[in-house]
Protein backbone atom coordinates (compact mmCIF):
# COMPACT_ATOMS: atom_id res chain seq x y z
CA UNK A 1 0.00 0.00 0.00
CA UNK A 2 1.43 3.32 -1.05
CA UNK A 3 1.11 6.66 0.65
CA UNK A 4 -0.54 9.49 -1.27
CA UNK A 5 1.46 12.65 -1.95
CA UNK A 6 1.84 15.34 0.70
CA UNK A 7 4.22 18.07 1.76
CA UNK A 8 6.22 17.46 4.92
CA UNK A 9 7.18 20.01 7.54
CA UNK A 10 9.83 19.37 10.13
CA UNK A 11 9.61 21.98 12.91
CA UNK A 12 12.36 21.89 15.52
CA UNK A 13 10.21 23.41 18.26
CA UNK A 14 6.60 23.97 19.24
CA UNK A 15 6.55 27.65 18.24
CA UNK A 16 7.60 26.69 14.71
CA UNK A 17 5.01 23.90 14.63
CA UNK A 18 2.25 26.37 15.58
CA UNK A 19 3.40 28.71 12.79
CA UNK A 20 2.96 25.94 10.22
CA UNK A 21 -0.47 24.99 11.58
CA UNK A 22 -1.53 28.65 11.50
CA UNK A 23 -0.12 29.16 8.00
CA UNK A 24 -2.23 26.32 6.62
CA UNK A 25 -5.24 27.55 8.57
CA UNK A 26 -5.47 24.37 10.57
CA UNK A 27 -5.61 22.19 7.42
CA UNK A 28 -2.28 20.55 8.22
CA UNK A 29 -2.22 17.34 10.22
CA UNK A 30 0.24 16.56 12.97
CA UNK A 31 2.25 13.32 12.72
CA UNK A 32 3.69 11.71 15.84
CA UNK A 33 4.09 7.90 16.02
CA UNK A 34 2.34 7.34 12.72
CA UNK A 35 0.85 3.97 13.68
CA UNK A 36 -2.63 5.30 13.09
CA UNK A 37 -2.37 8.28 10.74
CA UNK A 38 -0.05 6.61 8.22
CA UNK A 39 -2.26 3.49 8.21
CA UNK A 40 -5.34 5.61 7.52
CA UNK A 41 -3.47 7.49 4.78
CA UNK A 42 -2.45 4.21 3.15
CA UNK A 43 -6.04 3.02 3.34
CA UNK A 44 -7.06 6.35 1.78
CA UNK A 45 -9.53 7.20 4.54
CA UNK A 46 -7.67 10.49 5.11
CA UNK A 47 -5.51 12.47 2.72
CA UNK A 48 -3.90 15.46 4.40
CA UNK A 49 -1.94 17.62 1.94
CA UNK A 50 0.32 18.98 4.66
CA UNK A 51 1.92 16.92 7.41
CA UNK A 52 3.72 18.38 10.39
CA UNK A 53 6.17 15.83 11.80
CA UNK A 54 6.89 16.20 15.50
CA UNK A 55 9.99 14.00 15.59
CA UNK A 56 12.33 16.95 16.15
CA UNK A 57 10.20 18.66 18.81
CA UNK A 58 12.08 17.73 21.98
CA UNK A 59 9.69 19.70 24.20
CA UNK A 60 7.20 16.88 23.79
CA UNK A 61 9.44 14.28 25.44
CA UNK A 62 9.96 13.40 29.08
CA UNK A 63 8.05 12.43 32.20
CA UNK A 64 8.41 15.02 34.96
CA UNK A 65 7.22 14.81 38.55
CA UNK A 66 6.92 17.86 40.81
CA UNK A 67 4.45 20.02 42.71
CA UNK A 68 2.25 17.02 43.41
CA UNK A 69 1.74 16.35 39.73
CA UNK A 70 3.28 14.36 36.94
CA UNK A 71 3.57 15.68 33.41
CA UNK A 72 3.95 13.22 30.56
CA UNK A 73 5.20 14.58 27.24
CA UNK A 74 2.82 13.74 24.40
CA UNK A 75 5.53 12.07 22.35
CA UNK A 76 6.38 9.47 25.02
CA UNK A 77 5.83 6.07 23.46
CA UNK A 78 3.73 3.20 24.75
CA UNK A 79 6.93 1.15 25.12
CA UNK A 80 8.53 3.80 27.33
CA UNK A 81 5.40 4.15 29.45
CA UNK A 82 4.99 0.39 29.72
CA UNK A 83 8.40 0.32 31.35
CA UNK A 84 7.84 3.35 33.59
CA UNK A 85 9.15 1.85 36.82
CA UNK A 86 10.02 3.96 39.84
CA UNK A 87 6.75 5.80 39.91
CA UNK A 88 4.67 2.64 39.93
CA UNK A 89 2.06 3.93 42.38
CA UNK A 90 1.34 6.87 40.11
CA UNK A 91 1.78 5.38 36.67
CA UNK A 92 1.40 1.65 37.28
CA UNK A 93 -2.05 1.47 35.76
CA UNK A 94 -0.89 3.43 32.71
CA UNK A 95 2.06 1.06 32.33
CA UNK A 96 -0.30 -1.94 32.38
CA UNK A 97 -2.44 -0.51 29.60
CA UNK A 98 0.51 0.70 27.54
CA UNK A 99 1.96 -2.83 27.64
CA UNK A 100 -1.23 -4.19 26.03
CA UNK A 101 -1.27 -1.77 23.11
CA UNK A 102 -0.64 -3.26 19.65
CA UNK A 103 2.60 -5.22 19.27
CA UNK A 104 6.17 -4.57 20.47
CA UNK A 105 6.95 -2.83 17.15
CA UNK A 106 3.85 -0.65 17.38
CA UNK A 107 4.55 0.19 21.03
CA UNK A 108 7.98 1.49 20.04
CA UNK A 109 6.32 4.02 17.72
CA UNK A 110 2.85 4.78 19.13
CA UNK A 111 2.69 7.81 21.40
CA UNK A 112 0.43 8.66 24.31
CA UNK A 113 -0.63 11.90 22.61
CA UNK A 114 -1.46 10.07 19.41
CA UNK A 115 -3.45 7.37 21.20
CA UNK A 116 -5.57 10.09 22.83
CA UNK A 117 -6.00 12.27 19.72
CA UNK A 118 -7.02 9.26 17.62
CA UNK A 119 -9.96 8.95 20.03
CA UNK A 120 -10.88 5.40 19.19
CA UNK A 121 -13.57 4.04 21.52
CA UNK A 122 -11.50 0.87 22.11
CA UNK A 123 -8.12 2.59 22.67
CA UNK A 124 -6.05 1.32 25.58
CA UNK A 125 -4.36 4.40 27.04
CA UNK A 126 -7.42 6.60 27.66
CA UNK A 127 -8.76 4.21 30.32
CA UNK A 128 -5.91 4.39 32.84
CA UNK A 129 -5.77 8.14 32.25
CA UNK A 130 -9.50 8.50 32.92
CA UNK A 131 -9.19 6.69 36.25
CA UNK A 132 -6.18 8.86 37.07
CA UNK A 133 -8.32 12.00 36.48
CA UNK A 134 -5.82 13.09 33.83
CA UNK A 135 -5.93 16.41 32.02
CA UNK A 136 -4.45 17.16 28.61
CA UNK A 137 -2.74 20.38 27.65
CA UNK A 138 -3.79 21.70 24.24
CA UNK A 139 -1.46 24.36 22.92
CA UNK A 140 -1.47 26.68 19.94
CA UNK A 141 -0.06 30.04 18.91
CA UNK A 142 -2.77 31.73 21.01
CA UNK A 143 -1.68 29.97 24.19
CA UNK A 144 -2.53 26.79 25.98
CA UNK A 145 -5.47 25.31 27.85
CA UNK A 146 -5.93 22.36 30.14
CA UNK A 147 -8.89 20.07 29.43
CA UNK A 148 -10.03 17.22 31.65
CA UNK A 149 -9.76 13.94 29.76
CA UNK A 150 -13.43 13.17 30.54
CA UNK A 151 -14.32 16.27 28.48
CA UNK A 152 -11.73 15.68 25.75
CA UNK A 153 -13.41 12.96 23.68
CA UNK A 154 -16.29 14.09 21.50
CA UNK A 155 -17.13 10.88 19.62
CA UNK A 156 -15.43 8.13 17.61
CA UNK A 157 -12.28 9.74 16.20
CA UNK A 158 -13.28 13.13 17.51
CA UNK A 159 -11.91 15.34 20.25
CA UNK A 160 -12.38 18.93 21.38
CA UNK A 161 -8.84 19.79 20.18
CA UNK A 162 -8.88 22.48 17.49
CA UNK A 163 -7.07 21.82 14.18
CA UNK A 164 -4.47 24.48 15.07
CA UNK A 165 -3.77 22.95 18.47
CA UNK A 166 -1.26 20.30 19.50
CA UNK A 167 -1.75 18.04 22.49
CA UNK A 168 1.54 18.75 24.24
CA UNK A 169 1.28 16.88 27.53
CA UNK A 170 -0.83 14.79 29.83
CA UNK A 171 -1.03 15.87 33.47
CA UNK A 172 -2.00 13.71 36.43
CA UNK A 173 -1.89 14.25 40.19
CA UNK A 174 0.53 12.23 42.29
CA UNK A 175 -1.30 9.30 43.86
CA UNK A 176 -2.12 9.18 47.56
CA UNK A 177 -0.70 6.31 49.61
CA UNK A 178 -2.90 3.24 49.43
CA UNK A 179 -3.66 3.70 45.73
CA UNK A 180 -3.52 0.88 43.21
CA UNK A 181 -4.70 0.35 39.68
CA UNK A 182 -5.88 -2.45 37.45
CA UNK A 183 -6.33 -2.87 33.70
CA UNK A 184 -7.95 -5.74 31.82
CA UNK A 185 -8.32 -6.07 28.06
CA UNK A 186 -10.47 -8.64 26.31
CA UNK A 187 -9.67 -9.50 22.73
CA UNK A 188 -10.07 -12.53 20.51
CA UNK A 189 -6.32 -13.03 20.77
CA UNK A 190 -3.68 -11.77 23.16
CA UNK A 191 -1.66 -9.31 21.09
CA UNK A 192 -2.03 -7.00 18.12
CA UNK A 193 -5.64 -6.76 19.05
CA UNK A 194 -8.29 -4.10 19.37
CA UNK A 195 -10.22 -4.57 22.59
CA UNK A 196 -13.69 -6.11 22.47
CA UNK A 197 -14.08 -4.57 25.88
CA UNK A 198 -11.40 -3.09 28.15
CA UNK A 199 -11.60 -1.75 31.69
CA UNK A 200 -9.40 0.17 34.11
CA UNK A 201 -9.87 0.68 37.83
CA UNK A 202 -8.17 2.74 40.51
CA UNK A 203 -8.79 2.33 44.23
CA UNK A 204 -7.48 4.38 47.14
CA UNK A 205 -7.82 2.61 50.47
CA UNK A 206 -8.27 4.43 53.78
CA UNK A 207 -5.61 4.16 56.50
CA UNK A 208 -7.38 1.04 57.77
CA UNK A 209 -6.32 -0.64 54.53
CA UNK A 210 -9.88 -1.82 53.78
CA UNK A 211 -12.31 1.04 53.30
CA UNK A 212 -12.49 2.47 49.80
CA UNK A 213 -11.74 6.17 50.01
CA UNK A 214 -11.65 6.78 46.29
CA UNK A 215 -12.89 4.61 43.44
CA UNK A 216 -12.54 5.11 39.70
CA UNK A 217 -13.67 2.81 36.91
CA UNK A 218 -13.31 3.43 33.17
CA UNK A 219 -14.57 1.35 30.26
CA UNK A 220 -13.59 1.09 26.61
CA UNK A 221 -15.25 -0.21 23.43
CA UNK A 222 -18.72 0.00 25.00
CA UNK A 223 -19.68 3.57 24.05
CA UNK A 224 -18.78 6.09 21.29
CA UNK A 225 -15.87 7.27 23.48
CA UNK A 226 -13.89 5.80 26.36
CA UNK A 227 -16.05 6.46 29.43
CA UNK A 228 -16.03 6.63 33.20
CA UNK A 229 -18.46 4.31 35.02
CA UNK A 230 -20.10 6.47 37.72
CA UNK A 231 -22.63 3.83 38.79
CA UNK A 232 -19.88 1.34 39.53
CA UNK A 233 -17.89 4.00 41.38
CA UNK A 234 -20.93 4.92 43.49
CA UNK A 235 -21.32 1.31 44.62
CA UNK A 236 -17.70 1.20 45.78
CA UNK A 237 -17.25 4.50 47.56
CA UNK A 238 -17.01 4.28 51.36
CA UNK A 239 -17.47 0.49 51.44
CA UNK A 240 -15.11 -2.18 52.69
CA UNK A 241 -13.33 -3.78 49.74
CA UNK A 242 -14.21 -7.39 48.98
CA UNK A 243 -14.70 -9.63 45.97
CA UNK A 244 -18.45 -9.53 46.63
CA UNK A 245 -18.43 -5.76 46.49
CA UNK A 246 -16.47 -5.85 43.22
CA UNK A 247 -19.01 -8.25 41.73
CA UNK A 248 -21.73 -5.83 42.75
CA UNK A 249 -19.81 -2.94 41.14
CA UNK A 250 -19.38 -5.03 38.00
CA UNK A 251 -23.14 -5.43 37.74
CA UNK A 252 -23.61 -1.70 38.30
CA UNK A 253 -21.09 -0.92 35.55
CA UNK A 254 -23.52 -2.39 33.01
CA UNK A 255 -25.70 0.65 33.57
CA UNK A 256 -22.81 2.88 32.48
CA UNK A 257 -22.14 1.02 29.23
CA UNK A 258 -23.93 1.45 25.92
CA UNK A 259 -22.28 -1.17 23.70
CA UNK A 260 -23.18 -1.84 20.10
CA UNK A 261 -23.27 -5.12 18.19
CA UNK A 262 -20.65 -5.41 15.45
CA UNK A 263 -18.75 -8.14 13.64
CA UNK A 264 -16.45 -8.63 16.64
CA UNK A 265 -19.07 -9.12 19.33
CA UNK A 266 -22.67 -8.58 20.26
CA UNK A 267 -23.92 -5.88 22.60
CA UNK A 268 -25.25 -8.54 24.98
CA UNK A 269 -21.88 -10.27 25.18
CA UNK A 270 -20.07 -6.98 25.65
CA UNK A 271 -22.41 -6.02 28.49
CA UNK A 272 -21.70 -9.29 30.30
CA UNK A 273 -17.99 -8.73 29.78
CA UNK A 274 -18.24 -5.21 31.21
CA UNK A 275 -19.33 -6.82 34.45
CA UNK A 276 -16.57 -9.46 34.40
CA UNK A 277 -13.79 -7.07 33.36
CA UNK A 278 -14.80 -4.43 35.90
CA UNK A 279 -14.67 -7.03 38.66
CA UNK A 280 -11.25 -8.26 37.55
CA UNK A 281 -9.80 -4.76 37.15
CA UNK A 282 -11.05 -3.87 40.63
CA UNK A 283 -9.53 -7.00 42.10
CA UNK A 284 -6.18 -6.14 40.51
CA UNK A 285 -6.43 -2.56 41.77
CA UNK A 286 -7.19 -3.83 45.26
CA UNK A 287 -4.16 -6.11 45.29
CA UNK A 288 -1.93 -3.33 44.06
CA UNK A 289 -3.40 -0.82 46.54
CA UNK A 290 -2.69 -3.13 49.46
CA UNK A 291 0.94 -3.36 48.40
CA UNK A 292 1.40 0.39 48.57
Amino acid sequence: MLLPAFEYHRPTGLAEAFEVLDHYAGKARVLAGGTDLLVNMKRKTVAPKQLVGLERVAELLGVRAGNGRIEIGARETAARLAGAGGIARDLGVLAMAAAKLGSPQVRNLATIGGNLCTARPAADMPLPLLVLDARVVLAGSAGEREVGLDAFFAGPGQTVAQPKEILTKVVIDRAEPGTGGGFVKLGLRRTLEIALVNAAALLTLDVDGKTIKKARVALGAVAPTPIRAPEAERVLLGKVASDELFAHAGEAAKQDARPITDHRGSATFRLEMVSVLTRRALHQAWENAREQ
Binding site: M1, L2, L3, P4, A5, F6, E7, Y8, R10, L31, G33, G34, T35, L38, V39, K42, R43, L51, G53, E55, A79, G102, S103, P104, Q105, V106, N108, L109, R190, T191, L192
Partner: protein, 163 residues
Protein backbone atom coordinates in the same frame (compact mmCIF):
# COMPACT_ATOMS: atom_id res chain seq x y z
CA UNK B 1 6.27 17.05 -3.26
CA UNK B 2 9.42 18.70 -1.99
CA UNK B 3 12.11 16.12 -1.35
CA UNK B 4 14.10 16.13 1.89
CA UNK B 5 17.78 15.38 2.39
CA UNK B 6 18.27 12.79 5.10
CA UNK B 7 21.16 10.86 6.59
CA UNK B 8 20.71 7.29 7.75
CA UNK B 9 23.23 5.07 9.44
CA UNK B 10 22.30 1.61 8.23
CA UNK B 11 24.26 -1.35 9.59
CA UNK B 12 27.15 0.96 10.43
CA UNK B 13 27.33 2.73 7.06
CA UNK B 14 26.26 6.36 6.60
CA UNK B 15 23.98 7.06 3.66
CA UNK B 16 22.86 10.46 2.39
CA UNK B 17 19.55 10.30 0.57
CA UNK B 18 17.08 12.67 -0.96
CA UNK B 19 13.61 11.30 -0.28
CA UNK B 20 10.05 12.26 -1.11
CA UNK B 21 7.97 12.74 2.05
CA UNK B 22 5.70 9.80 1.25
CA UNK B 23 8.59 7.35 1.03
CA UNK B 24 8.49 4.83 3.87
CA UNK B 25 11.59 3.52 5.57
CA UNK B 26 10.84 0.11 4.02
CA UNK B 27 10.92 1.65 0.54
CA UNK B 28 14.07 3.64 1.23
CA UNK B 29 15.90 0.55 2.49
CA UNK B 30 14.68 -1.77 -0.25
CA UNK B 31 14.53 0.49 -3.29
CA UNK B 32 17.07 3.24 -2.61
CA UNK B 33 19.69 1.23 -0.74
CA UNK B 34 19.03 -2.19 -2.27
CA UNK B 35 18.69 -3.81 1.14
CA UNK B 36 15.84 -6.18 0.38
CA UNK B 37 16.07 -8.18 3.59
CA UNK B 38 13.22 -6.34 5.26
CA UNK B 39 10.11 -7.53 3.46
CA UNK B 40 7.15 -5.46 2.40
CA UNK B 41 4.18 -7.40 3.73
CA UNK B 42 0.88 -5.94 4.87
CA UNK B 43 2.12 -2.35 4.83
CA UNK B 44 -0.01 -1.38 7.84
CA UNK B 45 1.93 -2.67 10.83
CA UNK B 46 0.13 -5.98 11.29
CA UNK B 47 2.52 -8.62 9.99
CA UNK B 48 5.98 -7.52 11.16
CA UNK B 49 7.76 -8.66 7.99
CA UNK B 50 9.36 -5.23 7.58
CA UNK B 51 10.71 -5.09 11.15
CA UNK B 52 14.06 -3.31 11.52
CA UNK B 53 15.78 -1.87 14.57
CA UNK B 54 15.45 1.90 14.79
CA UNK B 55 18.00 3.12 17.33
CA UNK B 56 17.98 -0.39 18.76
CA UNK B 57 14.21 -0.81 19.05
CA UNK B 58 12.16 -2.99 16.70
CA UNK B 59 9.66 -1.04 14.60
CA UNK B 60 7.49 -1.67 11.56
CA UNK B 61 9.49 0.14 8.91
CA UNK B 62 6.31 0.44 6.81
CA UNK B 63 4.96 2.84 9.46
CA UNK B 64 7.98 5.10 9.56
CA UNK B 65 8.55 7.76 6.95
CA UNK B 66 12.12 7.77 5.69
CA UNK B 67 12.24 11.49 6.47
CA UNK B 68 11.19 10.79 10.08
CA UNK B 69 14.16 8.45 10.44
CA UNK B 70 16.66 11.19 9.50
CA UNK B 71 19.69 10.95 11.78
CA UNK B 72 18.81 7.48 13.11
CA UNK B 73 20.76 4.28 13.40
CA UNK B 74 19.07 1.41 11.63
CA UNK B 75 19.91 -2.27 11.78
CA UNK B 76 18.48 -4.64 9.18
CA UNK B 77 18.89 -8.38 8.73
CA UNK B 78 21.81 -7.60 6.38
CA UNK B 79 23.68 -6.16 9.35
CA UNK B 80 23.71 -9.33 11.47
CA UNK B 81 26.14 -11.67 9.76
CA UNK B 82 29.83 -10.86 10.03
CA UNK B 83 31.33 -11.74 6.67
CA UNK B 84 30.44 -15.37 6.08
CA UNK B 85 29.82 -15.97 9.79
CA UNK B 86 26.12 -16.00 10.54
CA UNK B 87 24.62 -14.50 13.67
CA UNK B 88 23.69 -17.24 16.21
CA UNK B 89 20.02 -16.44 15.58
CA UNK B 90 20.44 -17.07 11.88
CA UNK B 91 22.26 -20.33 12.54
CA UNK B 92 19.67 -21.60 14.99
CA UNK B 93 16.77 -20.66 12.70
CA UNK B 94 18.35 -22.86 10.02
CA UNK B 95 19.22 -25.69 12.39
CA UNK B 96 15.84 -25.77 14.12
CA UNK B 97 13.84 -25.64 10.90
CA UNK B 98 12.35 -22.32 11.93
CA UNK B 99 12.41 -21.12 8.33
CA UNK B 100 9.95 -22.38 5.77
CA UNK B 101 8.99 -19.93 3.05
CA UNK B 102 11.30 -17.41 4.69
CA UNK B 103 9.21 -14.31 4.18
CA UNK B 104 8.68 -13.59 7.87
CA UNK B 105 12.20 -14.64 8.85
CA UNK B 106 14.08 -11.31 8.64
CA UNK B 107 11.42 -9.61 10.75
CA UNK B 108 11.28 -12.50 13.22
CA UNK B 109 15.04 -12.43 13.63
CA UNK B 110 15.13 -8.66 14.12
CA UNK B 111 12.47 -8.87 16.85
CA UNK B 112 14.38 -11.74 18.44
CA UNK B 113 17.63 -9.78 18.19
CA UNK B 114 16.06 -6.86 20.07
CA UNK B 115 14.97 -9.28 22.80
CA UNK B 116 18.38 -10.94 23.11
CA UNK B 117 20.08 -7.53 23.22
CA UNK B 118 18.35 -6.95 26.58
CA UNK B 119 17.77 -10.44 27.90
CA UNK B 120 20.35 -13.24 28.17
CA UNK B 121 18.05 -16.19 28.82
CA UNK B 122 14.47 -15.25 28.01
CA UNK B 123 11.66 -17.63 28.95
CA UNK B 124 9.46 -19.14 26.25
CA UNK B 125 6.76 -16.71 27.31
CA UNK B 126 9.08 -13.72 26.93
CA UNK B 127 10.11 -14.97 23.49
CA UNK B 128 6.48 -15.33 22.40
CA UNK B 129 5.75 -11.87 23.76
CA UNK B 130 8.72 -10.38 21.87
CA UNK B 131 7.66 -12.09 18.63
CA UNK B 132 3.97 -11.28 19.05
CA UNK B 133 4.15 -8.57 16.39
CA UNK B 134 5.47 -10.97 13.74
CA UNK B 135 3.13 -13.23 11.84
CA UNK B 136 4.23 -16.50 10.24
CA UNK B 137 1.89 -18.45 8.01
CA UNK B 138 4.01 -21.62 7.79
CA UNK B 139 5.63 -22.81 10.97
CA UNK B 140 3.13 -22.63 13.79
CA UNK B 141 5.75 -20.68 15.77
CA UNK B 142 6.99 -23.53 17.97
CA UNK B 143 10.20 -24.01 16.01
CA UNK B 144 10.78 -20.28 15.92
CA UNK B 145 10.50 -20.04 19.70
CA UNK B 146 12.88 -22.99 20.03
CA UNK B 147 15.34 -21.37 17.65
CA UNK B 148 15.41 -18.14 19.63
CA UNK B 149 15.80 -20.03 22.89
CA UNK B 150 18.63 -22.06 21.39
CA UNK B 151 20.39 -18.97 20.08
CA UNK B 152 20.14 -17.34 23.50
CA UNK B 153 21.73 -20.40 25.06
CA UNK B 154 24.51 -20.55 22.50
CA UNK B 155 25.24 -16.85 22.87
CA UNK B 156 25.39 -16.99 26.66
CA UNK B 157 27.68 -20.02 26.42
CA UNK B 158 30.35 -18.22 24.52
CA UNK B 159 29.40 -15.57 22.10
CA UNK B 160 28.89 -16.16 18.44
CA UNK B 161 28.72 -19.61 17.09
CA UNK B 162 30.64 -20.20 13.89
CA UNK B 163 28.61 -21.67 11.11
Amino acid sequence: MKKHPIRLNVNGTEYDLLVAPNRTLTQALREDLGLTGAKHGCGVGDCGSCTVLLNGAPVNSCLVLAVQADGSNITTIEGLAEGTSLHPLQTSFIEKGAIQCGFCTPGMIMSAKALLDHSDRPTAREIREALSGNLCRCTGYQKIVEAVSDAAENMSRGGRKES
